[in-house]
């Protein structure tokens, strides 16, 4: 079970969190023309990287904040976590 540092609460076990997918995805701005390809990439297409990856976790049984976690998908090592409004 991973041990995830929540920037708001501290180190907490994985079972307090819900996984939220790829943290590097950016939603296209509202009211902006978006090509089919761009939209498909936002909604459907995800990379499955081996190694360092930024992902979202939701501290669902804690402070209920979404956080960004940089994790190695092979070793599960966590390098950095930041609150949702920051970039890694």
């Amino acid at each position: 079970m991973l041990y995830i540092f929540c920037p708001h609460c501290g180190l907490r076990s994985q079972n307090e969190f819900a996984y939220g997918g790829d943290g590097s995805v950016k939603r296209p701005t509202l009211n902006k023309e978006v090509s089919d390809k761009e939209w498909d990439n936002f909604v459907y297409n995800r990379k499955s990287p081996r190694g360092k990856h930024v992902e979202l976790w939701h501290h669902i049984s804690g402070c209920r904040q979404w956080i960004k976690v940089q994790r190695d998908t092979v070793t599960h090592e966590i390098f950095k976590t930041v609150s949702a409004d920051k970039e890694i």
């Binding site: 041990y3 939603r27 939209w39 909604v43 904040q65 070793t75 949702a84």
Partner: protein, 998 residues
């Protein structure tokens, strides 16, 4: 029967406490402190089971967790348990155990015929034999495999025992209480670290319990007892015996299974049978020791062939002789301790040592004691079927390839030692890449991956002095790293006999023209020739060889067999062991009971049960409940002999005719506040929200980014910057996460706050033509006219002193209101509604009537908003704003979503107006068409229309609106039904929606 193999005055058992037990129905005696294995051996019982494949007689091989044979079916306090190792099961009064894998009895086992047909059971025999002919599978092969497989029978009864989980945090977790573990624990604890010391056995001390060493001027055993006693007194130390750390997971999370009560006749009150510990340790000291491996020779599975270390443990801990004419067969010095122990107890052993004239302190001692030693000698084959009777031995050439003349020697047991294998399971599980140590012919941990350090013989160190000094040092260093304390205790003086090198020899060659079975894996019956065959058939990867032959795949996970298997592969392949590699170590290290894994999360405890504040009223009024997520909701209120159908019809009809009340507390409620709340809702919902006035509610639909409907509900503007959102019961948690996601990640610039208030409000829906008259009684001073509180209006009220939110919203399609009060007043509100509603003929209604009412009105709900439909499918086109952007809007342009023939929600009525259509039925043109019959759609929800008194269903059908008026068939192969139906409008009752506005 007397304990004829029990010594008079050695061992660490309590001879004052005699214990009776039963094995295969026969009564025996042992002592407190025995294991089932030691007590049986004391009674001269060697035959305990039959082997897996050939059903050969099997006895005891080890004395602990490595035991491959002695697996029994236990009965304890009327509960039966399979797969129990007799070497680990402590004896208690009244214990009952049975042999497994034999029929009709362990002494006469019909399956043993496999032994004579063993040519047909080679490596991969499952894959080869049971493939053909196909028709044999169910009738012959499967029953055969089922009968032959497994080690015991699982109980079909509910397990009445209690199991617990415990979460723990510590600075240092130490796995194993041998010399390394004790030293590390002591040094760390004295330096202020919080320590958990885990020992799998009942007794602490590991190898110190059986070795002849001196630590700090005491015997090793006394030193261990002193250290443990001191550790137990320290407040920063938790010491646990009968506790196996079996898994090393990510981020230094380890799991330990504590057998709290398995050694007692009955679990004590308020105590669990077993406890599973989830331990998050800052550092882990792995002191799991090592396991002796055998030397492979002919018929080396005969009962009476035991590990030399096990024979020593039976002598020193239990005062039990595994035999009275022991033959010791070794390639190293450690088995000499076993021989000396026999000699000291008046038994004359013979040592066969594969080495050519080795020299060491302990060999000298054995010689001086007059023990008969034959160097360069090996056991070729064990004689005897159910017990060793003699052995054929021979001299072996220095290159270990040729045997001399075969001689016969009488013996009743063969104590074998092929040197020691470090127990590296935990370090390997942590991600540590192990490395092969040529000096000891075994793998040892490599570079640490997580915060783990391996010490002692688990790290390949077999020298006690070095073990103790490095473990003290590691304990001190690790604790210093964590606590910053600098209190170093002194390392005690250690004296032990010096050993010389072991012989790199592990398998005795076959004599000319002989083909004895030489076992590698004793539990799965894998022999040397099986591995050779697998290699001849082209298997190369050790992972493939393992799966093909099942080497190391039994419940002992190859603790005594893996390394010899690797040696064999490397010999045949002419590779060195490190390039063969080893198979992956995976948790658990040793079997863990399902009960312990499940813990308390069984039955009602498996998830929380959510109840509304009015729950006890429902109970008192004969509600029949239904699970709605975690909630318990009244499905209907039973009157007299009514069933679900009659009751729900009555309740729904009463809403249409008079007035009904429904508990809607379970609806998700989210409080939304902030100056940008309207803008936020405008982005979340598909329709327009910027102009909703204060005191008004609006129905909204929200989408996922892929255009699929996520949820629907009403949201009310309570005040300028304050909204009250409702969600469906099922989606409440997802919607909150969804809103938080957009507020925190996507649009952090919006000044909005959301919080769940589901639990804070109790809700009651009052529906029916007489609901306004009832409401006027509840709020006498309120203007509740159609102008005073119009449809989709909101107002606050005073319910006899209780502040109330009044919403004029409707799910039933009738004139209806929803009242919300603070949860504590929920019951008060409910009882008032019933009390004052009596004169209007009020009846409570459950979820079944609620469904009926919404279905015949054509209101879509969860069964239509099923995660596959878009707003257009559900006739919600009017709610899609053309003017603004919102979550998921861009996806609605997708080609498939705008296709003309897209599915739509429609109504369905059976032509006979009698036959209810099962939900999930497929709609087809031709009921007798050839399969697969082209499907036009499916029935999503069915009810009995109380308005028209006939069945009515909703369906999602291709090209829906153009299908209205068409006649189709609803097919339900599951219920064997084919019903002629007509497609109608989904708005079956009050299609213009006049009632809700009346």
């Amino acid at each position: 029967m007397s304990q004829t193999y029990r010594l008079n005055n050695s061992g660490q058992i309590n001879r004052d406490k005699k214990i009776s037990f039963k094995f295969n129905g026969k009564k025996y005696f042992g002592y407190e402190g025995d294991t089932l294995a030691s007590a049986l051996l004391a009674n001269g019982i060697h035959l305990v089971g039959r082997s897996f494949k050939y059903h050969r007689p099997r006895g005891f091989f080890g004395a602990g967790v490595d035991e491959p044979y002695a697996i029994v079916q236990m009965v304890r306090n009327k509960e039966t348990e399979p797969n129990v190792r007799a070497t680990e099961q402590e004896l208690f009064e009244g214990l009952e155990a049975k042999s497994v894998n034999c029929w009709p009895s362990v002494n006469f086992d019909i399956g043993a015929i496999n032994n004579f047909f063993n040519k047909f059971l080679p490596a991969g025999f499952y894959y080869k034999t049971f493939m053909w002919p196909k028709s044999f599978w169910y009738r012959i092969y499967e029953p055969f495999i089922r009968k032959a497989a497994g080690f015991g029978v699982a109980s079909t009864k509910y397990d009445s025992e209690r199991y617990e989980h415990k979460y723990e945090y510590c600075d240092l977790l130490i796995a194993g209480s041998g010399p390394a573990g004790l030293s590390g624990a002591y040094a760390a604890a004295k330096n202020g670290a919080s320590v958990i010391l885990a020992e799998e056995k009942p007794r602490f001390g590991g190898s110190l319990l059986t070795s002849e060493v001196n630590i700090g001027n005491q015997s090793g055993k006394d030193w261990a007892e002193k250290i443990i006693a001191e550790l137990k007194e320290m407040p920063n130390v938790t010491v646990k015996n009968r506790s196996q750390v079996f898994g090393y997971y990510d981020h230094n999370m380890l799991v330990m299974s504590e057998k709290v009560s398995d050694h007692l006749p009955k679990t004590k009150k308020f105590s669990p049978k077993q406890r599973l510990w989830y331990i998050r340790a800052k550092e882990v000291l792995i002191s799991s020791g090592s396991i002796e491996r055998p030397i492979v020779f002919g018929n080396n599975d005969t009962p009476g062939v035991v590990l030399a270390s096990a024979a020593k443990e039976y002598l020193k801990v239990y005062g039990v002789l595994v035999g009275k004419k022991p033959l010791i067969f070794t390639n190293n010095d450690s088995a000499y301790e076993t021989a000396i122990e026999f000699k000291k107890n008046g038994i004359d052993p013979i040592i066969l040592d594969s080495r050519n004239a080795p020299n060491s302190e302990i060999i000298e001692e054995a010689k001086n004691l007059g023990i008969h030693i034959k160097f360069s000698y090996v056991v070729v084959v064990a004689n005897g079927y159910k017990k060793v009777k003699s052995a054929q031995i021979a001299q072996i050439s220095p290159d270990k390839k040729n045997l001399g003349k075969i001689e016969k020697i009488n013996c009743d047991c063969i104590c074998v030692s092929g040197f020691w294998t470090p127990t590296i399971h935990l370090s390997s599980q942590s991600g540590n890449k192990t490395k092969f140590d040529e000096k000891i012919d075994a793998f040892v941990p490599g570079k640490s991956k997580q915060n783990e350090t391996t010490v002692g013989s688990a790290n390949g160190i077999f020298n006690l002095e070095e073990t103790i000094s490095t473990s003290f040092e590691k304990g001190y260093q690790l604790s210093k790293k964590i606590t910053n304390n600098d209190n170093k205790v002194s390392v005690p003086q250690v004296s032990e006999k010096k050993f010389t090198n072991h012989d790199k020899f592990w398998c005795v060659p076959l004599p000319n023209k002989k083909n004895f079975k030489r076992f590698l894996d004793f539990q799965n019956d894998v022999t040397v020739s099986d591995i050779e065959l697998a290699l001849r058939e082209g298997y190369r990867s050790i992972e493939h060889v393992k799966r093909y032959t099942t080497l190391g795949m039994a419940t002992d996970q190859g603790k005594t067999s893996n390394l010899n298997g690797l040696q064999l592969v490397s010999d045949v392949e002419n590779k060195v062991v490190p390039s063969v590699g080893h198979t992956t170590f995976r948790p658990p290290y040793t079997p863990v009971s399902i009960g312990a894994i499940v813990g308390r999360e069984i039955g009602k405890h498996s998830k929380p049960t959510r109840k509304s504040p009015m729950h006890s009223w429902h109970e008192k009024n004969n509600a029949v409940f239904v699970d709605a997520g975690m909630w318990l909701r009244p499905r209907y209120y039973k009157k007299a002999n009514e069933g679900l159908f009659e009751a729900s019809k009555r309740e729904a009809a009463n809403v249409r005719k008079n007035v009904g009340v429904c508990d809607v507390t379970t609806l998700g409620k989210i409080d939304i506040k902030g100056p940008d709340a309207a803008e936020f809702l405008n982005r979340v919902y598909t329709n327009a929200w910027l102009k909703l006035p204060v005191g008004k509610a609006r129905y909204g639909v929200m989408l996922r980014e892929d255009g699929i409907v996520m949820d629907d509900g009403t949201t009310t503007r309570i005040s300028e910057n304050h909204y009250h959102m409702t969600t469906t019961t099922a989606q409440a948690a997802n919607v909150l996460s969804h809103l938080e996601y957009y507020l925190q990640l996507v649009w952090p610039e919006l000044n909005v706050n959301v919080v769940s208030t589901t639990e804070q409000w109790a809700g009651a829906a009052i529906a029916g033509p007489k609901s306004r008259r009832l409401l006027q009684k509840l709020f006498p001073n309120k203007d509740l006219s159609n102008e005073g509180l119009p449809f989709m209006g909101y107002s606050d009220g005073d319910l006899f002193g209780v502040p109330t939110r009044i919403f004029r919203i409707s799910f039933s399609g009738e004139l209806a209101y929803e009242l919300n009060v603070q949860s504590d007043f929920g019951n008060f509100m409910w009882e008032k509604i019933i009390e004052l509603g009596n004169e209007f003929g009020i009846q409570p209604y459950g979820t079944e009537a609620l469904s009926t009412l919404r279905i015949e009105m054509g209101h879509v709900a969860g069964s239509e908003l099923d995660g596959r439909t878009i707003p257009y499918d559900n006739g919600l086109d009017g709610l899609i704003s053309r003017k603004k952007d919102f979550i998921g809007k861009r996806s609605l342009n997708r080609e498939a979503f705008i296709a003309k023939s897209r599915q739509k929600v429609v109504g369905v009525v059976p032509l006979d107006k009698k036959t209810s259509i099962p939900e999930g039925s497929h709609l087809v043109k031709d009921a007798s068409a050839k399969l697969p019959n082209p499907k036009l759609g499916h029935i999503s929800a069915s009810c009995w229309s109380v308005e028209y008194n006939n069945p009515f269903s909703l369906a999602i059908v291709k090209d829906g609106k153009n299908m209205i008026g068409k006649k189709l068939y609803a097919l339900s192969p599951l219920k064997n039904k084919s019903i002629p139906v007509e497609i109608v409008s989904s708005h079956y009752v009050d299609p213009k929606g006049e009632r809700v506005r009346s």
